[in-house]
């Protein structure tokens, strides 16, 4: 569904990450599921898929990474109107698990916050491994929103080795999992495709269920245009995803881009 909307809050979280609060100017929008996303329309610029980082009372929070023209235009909006389409995707409700390890790369952290809030309501625990390239891209996940449970463990990795673990999030995830055998029964990786691929392969022999939060080109969000297909699989990100089991999309992970 299309909704008119307005930016009601903006915050710079780190060198590259920005938080936006978006008020939906129309009644009757339903609460999203974790990992559902919206399409943010910046008129005259672009339509950007953005994960729901939080939601309450018709107000959505998103976390935007500065990349090209579209994300920059979205970041520049303050008290401006925009269009919101959504919520799209099947979402993911991993409520059958005991303890989840969420492995995020860069802005892949966005859906973590909403998942954490919902998981807490369901009595499921979520821990976080978060990797970024440079330490200046980091912010304190606990400072953000009230969705992060005290019980949550947070592990940080930087590729410039300025903070935390020195290396990629996938490596750090692999290490903490080996140091804590049996602690997690589900891993969800979210971020660049390289990260997803590495998590799927590095952790394939741990026996833990492995899911990834994918990104493809989303043009419509409703399952009509077919641009989001996870070739060579007959799967649409916007209908069947964006979260899939590693082993259901092996061909896609092997083939796909490097983003």
């Amino acid at each position: 569904m299309y909704y008119p909307a307005k930016i009601t809050g903006s915050e710079k979280l780190s060198k590259t990450l920005y938080l936006k609060r978006i008020k939906i100017l129309s009644d009757g929008i339903k609460e999203p599921l974790p990992f559902q996303f919206l399409l943010a329309w910046v008129p005259g610029v672009d339509l950007l898929p953005m994960s729901v980082a939080d939601f309450s009372n018709g107000e959505v929070v998103i976390i935007v990474k500065e990349r090209g023209e579209g994300s920059r235009a979205l970041i520049r909006l303050h008290s401006d109107f925009l269009g919101v389409m959504g919520f799209y995707g099947a979402g993911f409700k991993p409520w059958g698990y005991k303890r989840i390890l969420f492995v995020a790369g860069g802005s892949g952290i966005a859906p973590f916050f909403y998942l954490a809030r919902k998981a807490c309501e369901e009595g499921v625990s979520v821990d976080l491994v978060w990797g970024v390239r440079g330490g200046d891209e980091l912010f304190n996940p606990r400072s953000l929103l009230n969705t992060v449970n005290k019980d949550t463990a947070i592990y940080v990795a930087t590729e410039d080795c300025s903070t935390g673990y020195c290396g990629r999030a996938s490596m750090l995830a692999s290490r903490v999992i080996h140091e804590n055998p049996g602690k997690w029964d589900l891993v969800i990786a979210s971020g660049p495709q390289g990260l997803l691929r590495e998590v799927c392969s590095l952790l394939s022999d741990t026996g833990i269920e492995l899911y990834v939060n994918t990104e493809t080109l989303v043009k419509c969000g409703v399952g009509a245009c077919g641009s989001c297909v996870l070739k060579p699989h007959p799967l649409l990100l916007c209908k069947h995803g964006p979260v899939f089991k590693c082993r259901d999309i092996e061909g896609f992970l092997k083939g796909g881009g490097s983003a």
Partner: protein
């Protein structure tokens, strides 16, 4: 009970997908096949690849309709044998929708479709929002005649003409039949627009789009009825089907088969629901075959 045939294709039941909701890639055909359609219809394929319009290309409207201006995005004619191969693998008849901006393009595409041995081609003479394509051609009955005539003459497979809502749709239908098309697909989307009332701009990047879904169903019924009444032609009814009753109305108006587009977006079980409903309907009415009901509302 629900078997039907149209344009020489024998079908297990009357429900196909409508062109353009998926259908430009082999993976799309797989997804569509899983829904249970009796035949698959491709996205409209053009000679050269088309990027289509930039997003927004689709808007879900407050009135339960959908507005789209995808801009005929497709990978170009190279995909035709790929789609044909996939459909064979899936064991489904394939109707290839083709679109051109000139008679020559339609002819070339019909040749490629024949070579790839798809089961039929559907001429897109009705997309209301792609400049130089679709409805701009389909609203001129003489142009419909020329395109239909020339494609029929080169095609070794059945040709279907897809027409949209225009003042002279009955005339265009007549011309297409005269030119030798085996069936007519009626209708495409209706030209429309949605404006965001805070950003003060049309939402689609193309500004104009095509309205589909429940809002256009009674319009589709009217057009099918009119064309059937005039020619008793073979018709595939499209437009706003979201329940078995919508299909039943199109059948009574004269459609031997139907296509479902927008409803796919909101209901994954649409095909099964429609087939169940039609089955019960025939029993309630005491009919043995859907074909006996085709066009019987037409006096």
């Amino acid at each position: 009970m629900l078997e039907t045939s149209v344009a020489g294709l024998r079908l297990k039941h009357p429900v196909m997908n409508a062109s353009g909701i998926l259908g430009s890639e082999p993976e799309h055909l797989e997804i569509l096949a899983k829904q249970g359609f009796s035949a698959l219809v491709s996205k409209t394929i053009t000679l050269n690849p088309r990027e289509g319009y930039p997003p927004p290309i689709i808007v879900e409207l407050r009135n339960n309709g959908l507005l789209n201006a995808v801009g005929l995005a497709n990978p170009g004619a190279g995909v035709i044998p790929v789609l044909a191969g996939k459909a064979r693998e899936l064991g489904k008849p394939l109707i290839l929708s083709i679109g051109g901006s000139s008679v020559e393009e339609f002819v070339k595409l019909a040749e490629l479709a024949s070579e790839a041995s798809v089961d039929a081609v559907e001429l897109n003479l009705s997309c209301p929002h792609a400049e130089g394509y679709g409805l701009e051609l389909g609203s001129d009955p003489m142009l419909v005649y020329r395109i239909a005539k020339d494609t029929v003459s080169v095609a070794s497979i059945p040709v279907i003409a897809k027409l949209g809502l225009t003042d002279r749709v009955i005339e265009s239908a007549g011309k297409a039949l005269e030119a030798g098309v085996k069936a007519l697909t009626l209708i495409n989307t209706v030209k429309a627009m949605s404006i965001d009332v805070y950003t003060l701009k049309p939402v689609l990047s193309n500004r104009y789009g095509g309205l589909s879904g429940p809002p256009i169903h009674p319009i589709a019924v009217r057009v099918v009825y009119d064309v059937y009444r005039e020619y008793r032609a073979e018709i595939i009814g499209v437009g706003g089907v979201s329940s078995w009753m919508d299909v039943a109305e199109l059948v009574l108006a004269g459609a031997r088969a139907v296509q479902v587009g927008t409803a796919l977006i909101w209901n994954e079980n649409i095909v099964d629901e429609v087939l169940d409903g039609l089955h019960k309907w025939l029993i309630d009415l005491g009919y043995n075959s859907l074909m006996d009901l085709v066009g019987i509302a037409v006096m």
